[in-house]
């Protein structure tokens, strides 16, 4: 059974893309020529890229809905909109998420170097990937500590609208971050695997998503700081 | 064959469907609509009649043309033809006629809307509070002091007829409040109906009054109207509120001013 893979767009457009990718010094094909990884073209790269942007648009829309819910709820005319002091650990969490994004960029660079055959072993890129993962986990654990902090102050999910929105916004965000961590572990598994090699599109889209999680968190933090 | 059947059928369906439109247009709005007993209702009815004409014309024209073209071109052989003017003509027609039409409808219609919602109630309007709960309406008049007592949801006690949860012992304005199971209003006098929901969403609908307004829990809404004809009219709930929704009703009792005063007096005793 011949399986065929999607040649997208017109030949001209397609050619232009290949040209750009080649000329840009990128690493369209992550596996080094003659290397130990199976040579993989990346024909499904484009749908993955489109998919992640579309997915991020949907997530952004969901958070926009939650934000507008927050504004409507604040203006609902009932004087129960109070102020909660944000747990200071949030600033530490923010820092770790930002650092993890930087680490991921370093990792991406190093993976590319390795794939081009300019780097002997996987250890340095793996180090950066591990750092990203670790910082991400620190963020998740840190968010958990932030919730514990609120609980210790007697602020539970239903206590007041501010605490409700705090838990909902941070909770939904953490769920999405966990998705990103899942994506990262997939990248790491593939990077080490000889049979199921890492594609550039997988690494790229995972990193877009991860940076998006960081940006989203900064936005949420701003909203939390402004409104709660 | 199928094409011709369709063409005939669609013309019959269109004409049959349009009978009430024709009745409304040529015999008068009273054929399709209940009588109007409000000061603002005429504006709504007129707007509805104009819309009915335009919608009726659009409806009939489209269905008849559909029938005609299917009759004419079903199973036809030979070279195809293009409609004179093509898509450009269609776009222009749609923008010029339909665009202008709906814009005009919107503009004129917003006046009728404004009569009900933009103008605040007159300062001498009769204040009445309506409370909707599963599954009954109650109405409250402020009594001689002109002030409503506070509502305490926890004090609601239907067994003792304390439908609004008043606290006359501690709350002086509540002492002379008059509570009734139907909405009694004097004819020709503006009523400012303040709406309070006891539990879930409800709606106040009197079709003769051309008034419909939701009760929204937690929101203090009001609607004002002037009834112009003495009589008894049904108030029904139009917002799904639970199992007894169909059974949630009350009456709007429009009386002469004297009868109203008498009624109010008899209630306060």
């Amino acid at each position: 059974m011949a399986t065929i893979l999607h040649p997208p767009q017109t030949e001209v457009e397609r050619g232009r893309q290949l040209e750009n990718n080649g000329a840009g010094g990128g690493f369209r094909n992550l596996a080094p020529e003659g290397g130990n990884l199976r040579r993989v073209k990346d024909p499904s790269g484009e749908p993955t890229r489109t998919g992640i942007w579309v997915g991020m648009a949907a997530i952004a829309m969901s958070f926009a809905a939650l934000t507008s819910a927050l504004y409507v709820r604040e203006g609902s005319g009932y004087a129960d909109w109070t102020h909660i002091s944000l747990p200071p650990i949030l600033w530490f969490n923010t820092l770790s998420l930002v650092l993890s994004s930087i680490a991921l960029e370093r990792a991406r660079h190093r993976v590319a170097t390795f794939m081009r055959g300019q780097e002997g072993t996987r250890s340095v890129p793996m180090l950066w990937l591990n750092a990203t993962m670790l910082l991400g986990l620190v963020f998740v654990v840190g968010q958990y500590f932030a919730w514990l902090k609120l609980r210790s102050e007697g602020l539970y999910l239903p206590t007041n609208p501010n605490s409700s929105f705090f838990y909902v916004l941070t909770g939904v965000h953490v769920v999405h971050v966990l998705g990103g961590l899942g994506g990262l572990s997939r990248v790491m598994l593939k990077f080490r695997s000889a049979t199921n090699p890492l594609r550039r599109s997988t690494l790229d889209t995972t990193s877009y998503y991860w940076h998006f999680m960081g940006l989203l968190w900064v936005y949420l933090l701003f909203i939390l700081w402004l409104k709660l | 064959m199928g094409g011709k059947i369709f063409a005939v059928l669609i013309v019959i369906i269109a004409l049959a469907s349009a009978v009430p439109i024709m009745n409304h247009t040529f015999l008068g709005a009273s054929v399709t609509l209940p009588e109007d007993i409000s000061t603002h209702g005429k504006a709504i009815d007129d707007q509805l009649s104009v819309t009915m004409k335009e919608a009726g014309i659009s409806f009939l024209a489209a269905q008849l043309v559909l029938g005609l073209f299917v009759w004419q071109f079903a199973n036809r052989k030979g070279a195809t033809k293009t409609f004179p003017g093509g898509a450009t003509a269609m776009v222009i027609v749609a923008f010029l006629f339909v665009g202008a039409e709906v814009l005009a409808l919107g503009m004129v219609g917003s006046k009728a809307w404004g009569m009900v919602y933009f103008k605040p109630a007159a300062s001498d309007a009769l204040p009445v509070q309506a409370q909707a709960g599963q599954f009954a309406f109650y109405f409250r008049y402020p009594g001689p002091d002109g002030k409503f007592g506070q509502i305490h949801p926890d004090k609601i006690d239907e067994g003792n007829s304390n439908f609004f949860g008043l606290d006359p012992e501690n709350d002086i304005p509540a002492r002379d409040d008059i509570t009734a199971g139907e909405l009694v209003v004097p004819v020709g006098k503006e009523v400012n109906l303040m709406m309070h929901a006891k539990d879930v969403g409800h709606s106040f609908y009197v079709r003769e009054l051309r008034i419909q307004q939701d009760f929204v829990p937690g929101l203090d809404l009001s609607v004002h109207f002037t009834a112009t004809k003495i009589g008894k009219y049904e108030i029904v709930c139009t917002q799904l509120c639970g199992l007894g929704h169909y059974n949630m009703k009350s009456y709007l009792n429009v009386m002469s001013q004297e009868d109203f005063d008498k009624w109010l007096k008899s209630q306060s005793n």
Binding site: Q9, D80 | S17, F73, N75, T80, V200, Y246
Partner: protein
């Protein structure tokens, strides 16, 4: 060129039954699964509507068999008022989510969108499988509400808070049933988001050589635009459902204000906003209407073009109109809330874009009608349903004139006028599109033809029946007949009961007529005559596949190469009056 010819396997053809027909990655099987699910949902929904119609006019008549199925809701087979509302809620939810979203969009879209752009599958086959099975889970959760506690929720498919949020104090079904409803819709949102994401990526990235965006068939465009709308709409409904579930389960107060005395219990909530739910819900709810109708518009245009043997007056204008409708659909949600107590000025702000939707809708109608002029219209079951669609679209559309105006809405809001309006334009019209699509694509999906005589009987009976049901709804509404009533006891409603009796007869008749369709579907699937690869002499790519149904990879290991716009009819060619999109012959004006 070497890049183009190196292929990595997305997935190979499955061999086991489970991988082939149950947990299949093949978009065609998934499309059929969606279709089957929609069929189950529509039959369920229709039976519910029968019970409702019968109960409305014969409130005390026992319905055979119902007593055993619903001991609480219908003791002895007699429907209680609350069970009526529960059936109504389930009818609405099933029809809107599991029929009108699934059938024209997910089912046909899954099956034909990849083929029409020359791809061998969706961009993300695993997501595709997940999205169907997630939908299936949502369906099971919803249906399970029939069998728990005191039954399914009774707050309507719109689930207005606080009725839907305060829990079992609010009435039967508002306990577990309503929670299941919220969870079901939440899960459905996930499925729809995955599906839409897949559609968008597929359309943008997997088009075959020569298939530029403007060469996509109009129905492909419709599915693409619909998936963009669905992506944003379901992304809003999902957090709304989350907040609703939190209000119900954890005691937050997003939608529940202070001081509610429900069922003699003061609710332990404060400060929430019932309007917030309405805003979030209708921000999804109005685009949802177009999620149902746009694919039908696309299907009908596609089929009509083929059967008229000529292109529409303008392919492009139709697509622009669909885009305009999709865009406007996000600016009009407030027209469902004119009387909800929101700022009266905003009613006008929402009213004008609503009225403006008339313009693209009119352009589309005029183009359909104008294109019929001078055509060689072939009459068959599929094209008849397309004509029925146009008729229904107009009939349901003009009543929108009334409801878009807040002043008239004061009188008509929450009456049968509204029910008639949305059943015609969103329900019946979209279903007519689905019927048209079924008769048209059945030969491609099964390799057999459907019975034409039965198809025509089905069409004419359905056309007469649906008009007989839903036209009188409008006039009931003008008389002030309130909707969502389980019995008509008020003095002004009692005289209208004869009209309701007529509608009930019509509903039973129309529902029975659908048995013809089901019989035709089953019979033709197994006994229908063999279909040729291109029985309708249509030009788009789905008719270029080497077999019917298409092989696993759709084009038998070949890439179709596209040379033309999708609709080349009325030309002289070796095959007849049309040129396939894949044939490099003349008529390639693009």
């Amino acid at each position: 060129m070497s890049d183009m010819s190196v292929h990595a396997a997305v997935h190979g053809a499955p061999t086991s039954f489970i991988r082939k027909y149950v947990f299949s990655l093949d978009h065609k099987i998934i499309g059929l699964q969606y279709y089957a699910l929609a069929l189950v949902a529509v039959v369920t929904g229709m039976v519910l509507s029968w019970i409702m119609r019968v109960h409305l006019v014969w409130p005390n008549a026992p319905i055979p068999g119902l007593g055993a199925l619903a001991k609480v809701g219908a003791p002895g087979g007699v429907v209680t008022p609350e069970y009526y509302l529960q059936l109504m809620t389930m009818h609405g939810t099933l029809m809107v989510f599991f029929v009108l979203t699934n059938a024209p969009f997910a089912a046909f879209g899954n099956y034909f969108l990849p083929i029409q752009i020359g791809a061998e599958d969706m961009a993300f086959p695993r997501f595709n499988m997940m999205s169907f099975w997630t939908t299936f889970v949502a369906f099971c959760i919803l249906i399970s509400a029939f069998f728990v506690g005191d039954g399914p929720p009774l707050s309507g498919w719109t689930g207005y808070a606080p009725l839907s949020a305060v829990g079992k104090d609010a009435g039967p079904g508002q306990g577990i049933g309503q929670s299941l409803w919220g969870i079901s819709i939440f899960v459905f949102c996930i499925a729809s988001l995955l599906g839409s994401l897949n559609f968008i990526a597929t359309t943008l990235d997997l088009r075959t050589k020569g298939m530029t965006l403007s060469r996509m068939p109009i129905v492909t465009w419709a599915w693409f635009i619909t998936s963009c709308i669905a992506l944003l709409a379901f992304a809003v409904l999902m957090p709304a459902c989350l907040l609703l579930i939190l209000d119900r389960v954890t005691g937050t107060s997003f939608f529940i204000p202070a001081g509610l005395n429900v069922g003699d219990h003061i609710q332990p909530h404060q400060g929430g906003s019932p309007l917030l739910w309405q805003h979030l819900f209708w921000f999804f709810g109005h685009p949802e209407v177009y999620i149902a109708i746009l694919p039908a518009i696309g299907i009908v245009s596609h089929i009509l073009i083929c059967n008229m043997r000529k292109n529409m007056l303008s392919h492009r204008v139709l697509i622009y109109c669909m885009m305009a409708i999709g865009f406007l659909s996000y600016m009009v949600w407030g027209h469902h809330m004119f009387l909800s107590g929101m700022n009266p000025f905003s009613a006008l702000v929402f009213s004008f874009p609503t009225l403006m939707i008339t313009i693209p809708a009119t352009i589309m109608t005029l183009i359909w009608l104008g294109s019929l002029y001078g055509s060689n219209l072939r009459i068959n079951s599929a094209s008849l349903f397309c004509l029925g669609f146009i008729s229904m679209f107009v009939s349901g559309g003009v009543s929108g004139f009334f409801l878009a105006q807040p002043s008239i809405d004061i009188y008509l809001h929450a009456t049968y006028f509204v029910v008639g309006h949305f059943h015609m334009v969103m329900g019946v019209a979209a279903i007519m599109g689905v019927f048209a699509g079924t008769y048209f694509w059945f030969p491609k999906m099964t390799g057999r033809m459907m019975n034409e005589t039965l198809g025509r009987w089905h069409f004419f009976l359905t056309l007469i029946g649906t008009y007989a049901i839903f036209m009188p709804f409008h006039y009931l509404g003008l008389a002030g007949n309130v909707r969502r009533y389980s019995a008509f006891q008020d003095d002004f409603l009692v005289p209208l009961i004869p009209v309701h009796k007529f509608i009930t007869y019509a509903a039973l008749f129309t529902g029975a007529a659908q048995l013809i369709f089901i019989a035709n579907l089953v019979y033709s699937r197994f006994k229908g005559p063999q279909a040729s690869p291109n029985p309708w002499e249509c030009t788009s790519l789905e008719w270029s596949t080497p077999s019917s149904p298409p092989p696993f990879d759709n084009f038998g290991g070949q890439h179709p190469v596209v040379h033309h716009d999708p609709y080349q009819y009325g030309v002289k060619s070796s095959t007849g009056d049309y040129i396939m999109q894949t044939s490099p012959g003349p008529g390639a004006a693009s």
